[in-house]
């Protein structure tokens, strides 16, 4: 009897524990997901508050103040519709939110359908602004689209500080990421294997990096990490590692490489010398001055000091 009872208790206990375990497992996965997205957000916020803010104030006071004094007033009304690049989602949403807050009578909607689809939509007249994370093609310009570059996305290639390599050519970088070059000695460094670090599929930085180098889905990553901070940490702590991150998060723990002998700085990117960058275009049909008041207001906002700060707050470089 006693033994039977014990058995029953044991089985019941196992059942309860199993169920609790199951419930726990399911939940913990969910929580983990939330946690990561939170951390990514935190990283983003940190980025904006940290170095970028300093840069922002510097540049804003230095170069731009003279031109853009006109303050947008709150009396603009109407709607602005945008469609296009998924990479520009962060920027478009930030702009839409800030612009609507400034002008309560304006409604801004943004869809993210891809650069080409965005330009097509604006040419078809279904939206006011077509977002494109590449320069417009000649055919698109001929069809009447005007290329308004509002910001530039820059990506830095980083290695651990002890690495003696300080410059890579576009070809070398491409070969490193596609796995053709696997040792630093092949690109002029000491003999040590290259540890290729990148971001996870779906990340905007990865999308831009692979798109610019034209190696979409051809990269052989040794590590796919899910945040900019993680990439920096991994590269900093692994001898022989190489990674790519947004330009604005570089710190002393890693070394940013020159590409084609051009240092990655806001200046060289603006001058178009640093190739690992791409323009964020808000295409319109006809010049900005021909657009509706609400659309004109949006471009004016982007060109204002406040707008420039906003652009820098999402990790981008402003255009002058």
């Amino acid at each position: 009897m006693k033994k039977n009872l014990k058995k029953v208790v044991a089985i019941l206990g196992v059942c309860v524990l199993t169920m609790a375990g199951l419930a726990g497992c399911g939940k913990s996965t969910g929580e983990a997901v939330v946690e990561t997205s939170e951390t990514t957000q935190q990283v983003a916020v940190e980025e904006t508050t940290g170095e970028v803010a300093e840069e922002a104030t510097e540049e804003a006071t230095g170069e731009v103040t003279g031109e853009q004094v006109e303050e947008t007033t709150g009396d603009i009304s109407g709607t602005v519709t945008m469609a296009g690049s998924t990479s520009m989602e962060k920027l478009a949403n930030a702009v839409a939110e800030a612009y609507m807050e400034k002008n309560p009578n304006v409604t801004v909607t943004a869809e993210f359908t891809g650069s080409s689809a965005g330009v097509e939509s604006v040419l078809a007249g279904s939206v006011d602004i077509g977002n494109s994370s590449r320069n417009l093609k000649d055919s698109e310009k001929e069809a009447g689209a005007v290329e308004n570059i509002v910001a530039i996305d820059g990506i830095a290639v980083v290695v651990d500080p002890a690495n003696t390599v300080s410059n890579l050519t576009k070809e070398q970088l491409t070969k490193i990421y596609t796995g053709e070059i696997t040792d630093w000695s092949e690109v002029g460094g000491g003999a040590s294997p290259i540890v290729v670090v990148g971001r996870e599929a779906g990340s905007g930085t990865r999308g831009a990096f692979e798109e610019i180098l034209e190696i979409e889905e051809a990269c052989k990553y040794a590590s796919e990490l899910d945040s900019t901070g993680a990439v920096v940490a991994k590269v900093a702590s692994t001898p022989g590692a190489i990674g790519y991150v947004s330009l604005d998060v570089i710190d002393d723990t890693v070394k940013a490489l020159s590409l084609e002998n051009v240092e990655p700085t806001a200046e060289t990117i603006k001058a178009g010398e640093y190739f690992l960058s791409r323009p964020f275009v808000m295409a319109t049909v006809g010049e900005i001055s021909e657009q509706s008041q609400a659309v004109q207001g949006l471009f004016e906002y982007l060109a204002s000091d406040e707008g420039k700060e906003l652009i820098e707050s999402v990790g981008l470089i402003t255009v002058d």
């Binding site: 044991a10 524990l17 889905e217 990553y221 940490a233």
Partner: protein, 312 residues
């Protein structure tokens, strides 16, 4: 003092009955919540995980080897991810469980009381360490070590991709350490619950201490130890945070020095930016993981039942 009297067997029959009924309701509600959680999770996983399975194709998802969710022509093969979870968990169990059970034997039977009093709190502390801490330690201590090992082993290899120490082996070690406290604590309680008469009888018949442990005490505590293993497996296969930091997270064949992605880390690492079908496939991975845990639990529970009846 006087109120207490009303609960005694002698008086207050009506009140007693009421207390019994209320208690019954409370128990029912509590168990209802646990069951509700299980059923709602099952339902939700099926609801959100199955659509992508049919959109992509069952075989393409489960047996495809290429994971390229953002390509022009996306492919969503998770075979390597599934294999990684199986291989990783299996080896973690193979390392962690024997070690854990032997530690439990040490604590319950062999260790001098003073030493046991020192080790036991340490093990309990290990159980309370958050998984992200295991991951960080793995990242800072284990990965550099692994990288040194990797540099030695693959010194002349032309084909090996160097991972900087983020590999399957690191993940297995971290997982093995993580399941230790679960296995140790539960098997130790099971060992201590073995009736002392069994042990005394065995020793009286002339069996040595080690013989007694392996021939008498461990078999007698079998069901408890199997419970420990079940929970250990559950923890290992469901762990995400720690291994996302040490495993490298590239989709590869699960070889010891390859950067690998587990079912859990596959969901966690790409959820932030995934959209549309990509996102749905991540839920499908969740469903696969869920199915895995279900099967393992049912299987092990069955073994437990059989083991129990053999004991009779």
């Amino acid at each position: 003092m006087k109120e207490k009297k009303s609960f005694s067997i002698m008086s207050g029959k009506a009140l007693k009955k009421k207390v019994e009924e209320v208690a019954k309701v409370v128990f029912t509600i509590c168990s209802f919540f646990a069951i509700l959680a299980v059923f709602s999770i099952t339902f939700y996983m099926l609801y959100s995980g199955t659509p992508a399975l049919f959109k992509v194709g069952l075989l393409d998802v489960l047996f495809g080897t290429v994971w390229a969710p953002t390509a022009q022509e996306p492919t969503y093969g998770i075979l390597y991810v599934i294999l990684t979870s199986i291989v990783g968990t299996t080896f973690a169990i193979l390392i962690g469980v024997p070690m854990g059970i032997l530690t439990a034997v040490f604590l319950a039977e062999v260790a001098p009381k003073k030493l046991a009093n020192l080790v036991k709190p340490a093990v309990e502390l290990l159980a309370g360490v958050p998984s992200v801490i295991y991951g960080l330690l793995g990242l800072l201590l284990l990965n550099p070590l692994m990288y040194k090992l990797e540099l030695i082993i693959f010194k002349d290899s032309k084909t090996h991709q160097f991972t900087g120490g983020s590999n399957l082996l690191s993940a297995i070690i971290v997982l093995a350490v993580m399941i230790l406290p679960t296995v140790i604590n539960i098997s130790e309680s099971a060992l201590r619950a073995v009736p002392v008469q069994l042990k005394s009888a065995s020793l009286a018949l002339g069996a040595s201490k080690i013989q007694t442990i392996f021939q008498v005490i461990l078999p007698a505590a079998k069901s408890g130890i199997i419970t420990a293993v079940v929970l250990g497996v559950g923890r290992a296969i469901g762990e995400a945070m720690a291994i996302t930091l040490v495993a490298g997270s590239s989709v590869n064949i699960p070889l010891p020095f390859n950067s690998v992605r587990f079912l859990t880390t596959a969901i966690v690492s790409e959820m932030a930016y995934a959209s549309d079908l990509h996102r749905e496939v991540l839920f499908t991975i969740g469903l696969v993981l869920f199915a895995f845990i279900m099967v393992i639990n049912l299987l092990l529970s069955k073994i437990l039942k059989n083991g129990g009846s053999e004991n009779e």
